[in-house]
Amino acid sequence: MTYGAWIILTGVLVGVTCGITGALLVLRKMAMIADAISHTVLLGIVLAFLVTQSLNGLPMLIGAGAVGILTAILVQWLDSSGVQSGAAIGVVFTSLFALGVVMLSFIGDGVHLDVEHALMGEIAYVPWDTWTYAGINLGPKAVWMLGGVFILNLTIILLFFKEFKVSTFDPQLAASLGIPILFLHYLLMGMVSFSTVASFDSVGAILVVAMLIVPGATAYLLTDHFGWMIALSAIIGALASIIGYGFAVWLDVSIAGSMAVSCGLLFTLAFFLSPKHGVVSKWWKRKSFRKSMATS
């Protein structure tokens, strides 16, 4: 595969992985917690590195998953003990992220892990960081990690499809049916953590939030069907990555940056032009309604 093809594949995998997970976050009105987790997982990555002395995929996923869930638990706990919920997220998010930054300084210079890298990522380097097994080059590590997390998240969503649906729409009914809503909540937090870690190398902590939230918010404007919204969110995420790569090559700008900008562009298009919920169609419906009132 060519250099460009690997980057596009990485971007598309970030788009679909974050897309399916983010659709659930948007419906659960938890966009802010994604922002928090995308930063605090840095602590998990650093801890995993300090323990294993390597940047291997699995320990990083475990570390990030644990800190991601810890973030969600701490936010929930502060929230229920009377701290305003926005402030609760802010406190936990910044403290754990800062702890990660401080601990990062224990790690030597020779290691490919620093704050700028964590925040911004660099998808342009992804194709060079390959995985070699028994002398065979198996392609970029990031692609394997993203592919693995995508399959994991997709499996979880398909396995608990009904349960995610009912516990998002009507958590009280879900609980009365005996559905473990708390387990599902933390499972989703784990999925967000995994998606973030897998996307870290390529887009970093700041732009991963765009990939998590914007495709979901766009899909929300385009469909009235739960399953379709998740699928559409993935398609929009993938599309934004491809369009973004095109822009980046054309204008010679940051690849991850233009991917996130493309997400914003697609959202803007949907916001104005969505056939059902778009600003234009709503305006048109009001206008034709007034006209029909006037003539009758």
Binding site: L27, V166, T168, D170, Q172, L173, A175, D224, F226
Partner: protein, 250 residues
Amino acid sequence: MNALTVKNISVTYDKQPALEQVNFSVPQGSLTGIIGPNGAGKSTLIKAVLQLIPKSSGEVSVYENPLKRERNRIGYVPQRSEVDWDFPTNALDVVLMGRYGHIGMFKRIKKKDKQLAADCLAKVGMDSFADRQISQLSGGQQQRVFLARALSQNADIYFMDEPFAGVDAATEKAMIKLLQEWKEEGKTVLVVHHDLQTVRSYFDHCLLLNKTPIAFGPTDRTFTYDNLQKAYGGALSILAQESSFLGRGG
């Protein structure tokens, strides 16, 4: 036989008692109104009984078994305002959610579940709205969808939290007719209710509540001026002046 037995339930919110020492047993095949002023803990009681919120003490048994073992015999209709009606789904899908407990985890929805959900929608006169996005339904229609969902649960005991709030008169009439049919089929129904005017005509049993039960039993014995005075305190005199809900005229 008692369908539901509640023993010593207490609930505390932020160190303030929300419910204290609630005890009652509901006979099978009864239609009970849970009545009390705002903040009396009516919704809290239902949620505590169904274990949706933590209680500081108390026990609940359903047909003499712990509630956990009888979940599929319980139907719950939360307040309409507690769910997100902009959620991307249609009326039939919401009714199908009532089947999830019976279908079970990791299992797919079968054709017969869809058929049953469609039949339930038809029973509440909503069959032509099956594909309608739920945000495009009126308040009364949304409540009918909730009722159809409760029907699809095919439960033996139903808990309904203010099912008549914000619905039109025709819907309320159709709903109470359905609840009375359930009762005749031997189902047990508990309803959090606000309108004192209709208590006598709707319910055969009453639970008057104000943090702690004031009275429980057949409506004609419990729904009395004295008990209402105890439950509502000063607020009652204003209500009583304008209405004849106690059947005393005037």
